[in-house]
């Protein structure tokens, strides 16, 4: 959603692009002023207004420790550590911003405590809550009105580790299995699959990589015994677990995959795969 606001996308407003904001970095890792490692989702910068927005996109889960680390990011961290390119670093400003589709997130005590601006995608608009940005011109674009044709681009960052993205995550894992199978790679470890499936895999932090690996393993193992039995096989080779698709089943796999996704859409996930964290 946020990337779409600064990238030309038809049927989605891009007011940040009009202020010359660009995608500077996705999934960056750097240290804050206290030397703690931070890994926000996205940094947008505008040379025109000498400003950066550091985005954390959230559904429900807010980790207190993470918010505390973000509060210790200074604009000079971005400059000194080469995370923002602007023409006038001495007058450069930056804001941490929480972006979400969840209305309730603006009431979160951690977010309120640190006075982070919150951008919410709501019914008919995208609006700013809680605090202002340090860039006056940026504050003026809100609310951004949405019409009935507007739909956010959901493919620049296709899925996160949050529960809401589980169906999408499964689709990407299955797509990767099929694609690797078509390329002649019939037996695949979970890590090989995820390296192809997640477009930002290299810079996902270790903690979240483990979540993805564990979740994918659990999903594929379940599917090989259940809905994809006879199509997807689990193979053990020494200490490695690999997954193999029967090369002749690409089309029946597609039908079964859609049934899985459809079932999950209708019934919700009977067995949630991503770990559930308290809000």
């Amino acid at each position: 959603m946020m990337m779409g606001l600064c990238i030309r996308t038809e049927n989605w407003p891009h007011p940040l692009r009009d202020l010359n904001y660009n995608v500077e970095l996705i999934e960056p890792t750097f240290t804050n002023s206290k030397g703690e490692t931070v890994n926000p989702d996205l940094i947008l910068t505008t040379k025109k207004y000498n400003h950066a927005i550091i985005f954390e996109c959230k559904c429900k889960t807010i980790e207190s420790n993470q918010m505390s680390k973000y509060s210790n990011i200074l604009p000079s961290d971005l400059i000194e550590k080469g995370k923002a390119n602007v023409p006038d670093p001495k007058n450069f400003s930056a804001d941490i911003c929480i972006a979400s589709f969840e209305k309730g997130i603006k009431e979160n005590s951690e977010i309120i405590k640190y006075k982070f601006p919150v951008i919410l995608c709501e019914e008919g608009k995208i609006d700013k809550h809680n605090s202002n940005f340090n860039c006056i011109r940026l504050n003026q674009i809100f609310p951004v009105n949405l019409n009935k044709e507007h739909r956010p681009p959901v493919s620049f960052y296709p899925f996160s580790h949050e529960k809401e993205d589980e169906r999408m995550f499964i689709s990407y894992v299955l797509r990767t299995l099929v694609s690797r199978n078509l390329a002649g790679k019939h037996e695949n470890t979970v890590e090989e699959i995820l390296k192809d499936a997640h477009p930002y895999w290299k810079n996902i932090d270790q903690h979240h990589k483990k979540i993805f690996l564990r979740t994918a393993e659990c999903i594929l193992s379940d599917f090989s015994k259940g809905e994809l039995k006879g199509i997807l096989d689990k193979i053990r080779e020494d200490k490695n677990v690999k997954y193999k698709i029967n090369p002749l089943t690409t089309n029946s796999l597609k039908d079964k995959c859609e049934k899985i996704i459809e079932r999950m859409s209708k019934e919700g996930n009977l067995k949630p795969y991503f770990p559930q964290t308290a809000s």
């Binding site: 996308t9 995608v23 296709p158 930002y200 290299k202 597609k254």
Partner: protein, 368 residues
């Protein structure tokens, strides 16, 4: 005739072309299957050996004979019923030219089957309605006529729709007036899909009459082989520029720079003028893995009128993400993928669903 180089080939093709033209003049109407000079453009992401391999896999006997020019080969194809020769010019390694004077029923079939085989890296160029209309605007060319072909493959038989299929040949100077009338009719306007254009061009006392098909088939009559090759070269270049623009400027690049990812690129949106009534039925055909779309995918319902497809283009095994509503289709592909996927999608949506479908917004005019 033994062809060893391009000079010999041009001489051979020009003789064949002139003879058939003389015959048409003498005998009047010519049969569709007569052996006119035809050139098929093939979009390729592989070497010429893939062509041989694919044709063999279809059950044909194939011999490929190299000439003294390493970008020119003679491909002889035969089985019990068919015997044809193609002269394969791979000087442009991305867009091959396959010349033949073989019977068009046989040669069309072989080319369609060969290109339609999954994951072989071969495809047709897909000239959209807009691309073909633009050919006519060239001042050097005299417009002779056009063919329309439309077949709605997304609608079930029992549905009552104004036009299920339309096939029409409009030849003569008033053809464009008829086209205008068809486009202004509410029931017809989404079914006016141009499948071919006929032009004539003069070259210093010689001339060429060219029929250009939307799938990259060029049928030539006249007295100038240079004219035929010139028209081929111009249109191939124009199409190649469009593909290069899509691949270099639009396809998404996620570059890891050691600390994070830089992102460049965006999506392409096809805007429909005919609303999709049932996204599920539409997508079942679009991502069925079958020709003409050749897309495999998994549907994800985001809201009642917004679906995301996580797919694969089976032409090259390129990942493809599609976001679709009843009124538009957003396409995302990664750097390194083949831009022909976008053109295949656009041209075939025009041919099989909505001839008014266009790339709109900032990319309008840059991709037609």
């Amino acid at each position: 005739m033994l062809i060893q180089n391009r000079i010999q080939l041009n001489e051979y093709l020009e003789n064949a072309m002139t003879n058939s033209y003389e015959k048409i003049k003498e005998e009047g109407e010519y049969d569709t299957y007569q052996n006119l000079l035809k050139t098929y453009i093939i979009e390729s992401n592989v070497g010429l050996n893939e062509l041989e391999k694919t044709i063999k896999s279809l059950g044909f006997g194939v011999t490929v004979t190299r000439t003294e020019d390493n970008t020119l080969s003679v491909v002889n194809i035969a089985n019990n019923n068919i015997k044809v020769t193609f002269f394969a010019d791979s000087f442009n390694s991305r867009f091959w030219l396959l010349h033949t004077i073989g019977n068009s029923k046989s040669t069309d079939g072989i080319i369609r089957k060969t290109v339609g085989t999954q994951i072989n890296g071969l495809d047709h160029p897909w000239f959209s309605t807009g691309f073909l209309e633009n050919i006519v605007k060239n001042e050097k060319d005299i417009f002779r006529g056009l063919t329309l072909k439309y077949d709605d493959i997304f609608i079930k038989e029992e549905d009552s729709i104004p036009i299920k299929s339309l096939s029409m040949k409009l030849w003569g100077t008033a053809a464009s007036n008829v086209l205008k009338s068809l486009k202004s009719d509410n029931d017809l306007k989404n079914s006016v899909s141009i499948s071919g254009i006929g032009i004539k061009r003069n070259f210093d006392g010689n001339f060429i009459i060219e029929d250009i098909g939307s799938w990259g088939k060029f049928t030539a009559k006249g007295t100038s082989i240079d004219g035929h090759l010139q028209i081929l070269s111009e249109l191939r270049k124009k199409y190649e520029e469009t593909l290069k623009f899509i691949e270099d400027e639009i396809f998404i690049e996620r570059k890891f720079n050691g600390v994070g990812y830089n992102l460049r690129g965006s999506s392409i949106t096809i805007v429909l003028k005919k609303e999709i009534k049932d996204l599920d039925i539409f997508l079942n055909d679009l991502i069925s893995s079958k020709r003409p779309f050749r897309i495999w995918g998994i549907k994800n319902l985001i809201d009642d009128e917004f679906v995301k497809v996580v797919g694969i283009d089976l032409h090259n095994n390129d990942p493809l993400d599609i976001e679709i509503t009843p009124n538009w289709i957003r396409i995302y592909m990664n750097k390194g993928a083949c831009g022909n996927t976008v053109m295949r999608l656009l041209a075939n949506i025009q041919r099989h669903y909505d001839s008014e479908a266009r790339i709109e917004g900032e990319l309008s005019g840059k991709i037609i």
